[in-house]
């Protein structure tokens, strides 16, 4: 999947097993299993999936808020897990920043907006002196569209709307001049009319400031809107990856098709007659071998319950992990026609 493109972040076989917690309980929750993807410089790459699919855990592993069980996180050509085994260096933490889902929980209600942005500037020693600190804070607030900055800096979180608070989250992440921002569902808690503004802000930062983004969402339409490439996760596994537009129009994996058919679409009317895969996301506790989607898949074959399919490239930059494709597979599914209106 990774070729000669300039990759800012390259994640290889990332795996995280959480212990169940009991003293004698040897079982493990396989939250993230063999996840491989990359982020080319200045691009926005999406991880899309439902709750429990492991997308947020993946972001936390990359930011090293938690440590992976195995795998590689290659940042600018260096495996940071090997070179910084005792935890991420201040430089890495500065370069790879996170924006969280909940703009209400991620700001301290007792401190002003200005304070929230000053902290990382001081900790990462990005400024010298009060005057420069003040200038940077105001500058950052303007960058994220929170002008008049002088006024905003004095406000407390409760005085801002959800969208404005999320912009503070971005200003705080930007303060340390990161190269990559991991945005974990940054708009899912915002009002619809505000969401587009935050998405546009991300797009502008990628285009103008040379930032790269990992955009984590369950909303495949917004993934198509802002990102270059979209990867689909299911039950801790990456099942398909493609250029965002192509993924929506020519989904290959049966799970991607299911996801797309479930998105409300005013053009189509309520499609109750559609054959929706029944059942739930499988348990992640010591899962059986084979494809995790096998239990719900309308195209399931005996091999699916035994062997995890390998990633097969089916078009430039478009790969899928499904036995229907590639070696030993049956002919591919008919294309897009049956997925979205």
């Amino acid at each position: 999947m990774s070729e000669q493109r300039d990759l800012v972040l390259d994640v290889q076989h990332l795996t995280k097993h959480f212990p169940m917690g009991g003293m004698r309980d040897a079982r493990k929750v396989h939250a993230v299993e063999d996840v491989t993807f990359s982020i080319p410089r200045t691009e926005i790459v999406t991880l899309v999936g439902e709750s429990g699919s492991g997308k947020s855990t993946t972001a936390r592993l990359i930011s090293r808020l938690i440590e992976p069980t195995s795998g590689e996180v290659i940042y600018n050509g260096t495996d940071v897990l090997k070179s910084q085994p005792r935890g991420a260096s201040l430089d890495y933490r500065g370069d790879v920043q996170m924006v969280f889902q909940d703009p209400f929980g991620s700001l301290n209600p007792a401190h002003t907006i200005g304070y929230h942005i000053e902290r990382p500037l001081l900790i990462h020693k990005k400024v010298s002196g009060r005057k420069e600190l003040r200038e940077r804070v105001l500058d950052l607030l303007n960058t994220v569209g929170l002008g008049p900055a002088e006024e905003t800096a004095e406000k407390f979180p409760y005085e801002l709307s959800g969208g404005q608070r999320q912009r503070v989250g971005f200003a705080r992440a930007l303060s340390v001049e990161p190269k990559v921002i991991l945005a974990d569902e940054p708009v899912s808690m915002l009002d619809v009319s505000i969401r587009v503004g935050v998405l546009n802000l991300m797009k502008r930062l990628a285009d103008d400031s040379g930032l790269s983004f990992l955009y984590i969402t369950h909303d495949i339409a917004s993934a198509r809107y802002i990102s270059d490439h979209t990867n689909v996760m299911y039950a801790g596994r990456m099942v398909e990856g493609a250029p965002s537009d192509e993924l929506v129009h020519e989904p290959a994996h049966p799970y991607t098709r299911l996801l797309l058919s479930a998105v409300p679409n005013p053009h189509a009317g309520l499609r109750t007659q559609e054959t929706v895969a029944r059942g739930e996301i499988p348990s992640l506790i010591d899962p059986p071998p084979g494809c995790p989607f096998a239990a719900r898949c309308p195209h399931v074959m005996p091999v699916c319950r035994e062997v995890m399919p390998n990633a097969v490239t089916i078009a430039p930059n478009h790969w899928v992990r499904c036995h229907l494709y590639g070696d030993g597979g049956v002919s591919p599914l008919p294309t897009a026609a049956n997925s979205v209106g």
Binding site: E50, V192, R195, V248, P264, N265, T272
Partner: protein, 340 residues
């Protein structure tokens, strides 16, 4: 406040039989800095078997309307005016005894988060049986049989009746909540963001189930959400709320294909589409209004791209500009506006 204008929304023609009529409803929250009129002169009706969608952003008053209909508002929220008529009776005038009979028997509610609206220390079966026994004089055994039937109807195996909420998945819990709402087969169900906390695939299943149940039992639904694309799919008519008022109301198709209010247009242009060209969206600049001191004139005027002469001073009434299509906007209701 120009609540003198009676902003009534009449029925869709044809076989429309109103089930519930909300007439000039007003709800205020008594806040430290003055009172907030969270719902300001809202009128609409829901027909028998009809699904009416109520859309708007947080703080627009849509959930407050639901709670006012059920009369479950707690101080500092108080209903300061209007009527809620169901089959001729005014819910707002009912005695405590009457209101207890009315709730769940005539109107039930599915709350926003199924995770929090089930009692964690009671089995789902007991919670359904509770609702049935509070209203019906039948034996516990009979109620249990009915509860099993309700679970089957919403697609949960009857032997899960003794499960506790934490033993069910999110989608199953939401279906259990719907089973409780269905238990007495009320003519109206209010669903306040019933699928917001769910994944899309599960949401699709729940919506399909709701639609199927409505066809089977013929109840009406007041469906509240901020997700316009969802609302267009599920409802017959949609009312758009902004700052405590209805600013536009029309049959879903009509509203989707021909939105007239600039706020509705902004909402429609706020969600990225799955199909069609990838074009840049703008959303709506600014923030929702502060209802302690709402903007003068039209409450949307500070964010409106089309504002002109009267917008900042005269409050636009809700007027039927095409058959069954009501809008409160000077662009469509004044001669100067049409010329804009």
């Amino acid at each position: 406040m120009s609540t003198d204008v009676k902003r009534g929304i009449r029925a869709v023609p044809g076989n429309f039989v109103p089930l519930i009529e909300i007439d000039n409803l007003q709800v205020e929250y008594l806040a430290g800095r003055g009172s907030v009129r969270a719902v300001d002169g809202v009128s609409f009706s829901i027909g028998k078997g009809e699904v009416v969608g109520l859309a708007g952003e947080s703080g627009s008053g849509k959930s407050t309307i639901a709670q006012a209909i059920m009369r479950i508002l707690q101080p500092p929220a108080i209903i300061t005016g209007g009527k809620v008529l169901i089959e001729g009776k005014d819910v707002l005038q009912m005695s405590d005894k009457q209101i207890r009979d009315f709730r769940w028997d005539e109107v039930s509610m599915v709350f926003q988060s199924a995770m929090n609206s089930l009692n964690p220390v009671m089995t789902v079966g007991d919670q359904i049986i509770d609702a049935i026994l509070a209203h019906r004089k039948i034996s516990e055994q009979q109620a249990r049989e009915q509860a099993k039937e309700m679970l089957r109807i919403v697609g949960i195996e009857a032997d899960r009746i003794d499960s506790y909420p934490h033993q069910l998945s999110g989608g199953m819990r939401q279906r259990a909540v719907i089973a409780i709402a269905l238990a007495l087969q009320p003519p109206l169900m209010i669903m306040d963001e019933p699928t917001t906390a769910l994944d899309v695939v599960v949401q699709r299943e729940i919506l399909a189930k709701i639609t199927e149940l409505r066809e089977q039992f013929g109840f009406s639904i007041l469906f509240i959400t901020h997700d316009m694309s969802l609302l267009v799919e599920i409802s017959d008519r949609i009312a758009i709320m902004y700052g405590g008022e209805i600013v536009e109301m029309a049959p879903s198709r009509e509203l989707f294909e021909n939105p007239l209010h600039p706020y509705t247009q902004g909402l429609m242009a706020s969600f990225p589409a799955l199909t069609g060209p990838r074009k840049r969206l703008e959303g709506i600049p600014g923030s929702p209004p502060d209802l302690i001191s709402p903007p003068s004139g039209c409450r949307f005027h500070p964010r409106c791209p089309h504002r002109f002469g009267p917008c900042d001073s005269i409050h636009p009434p809700l007027i039927e500009v095409r058959p069954n299509h009501f809008v409160a906007c000077h662009l469509h209701t004044t001669p100067e506006g049409s010329a804009q």
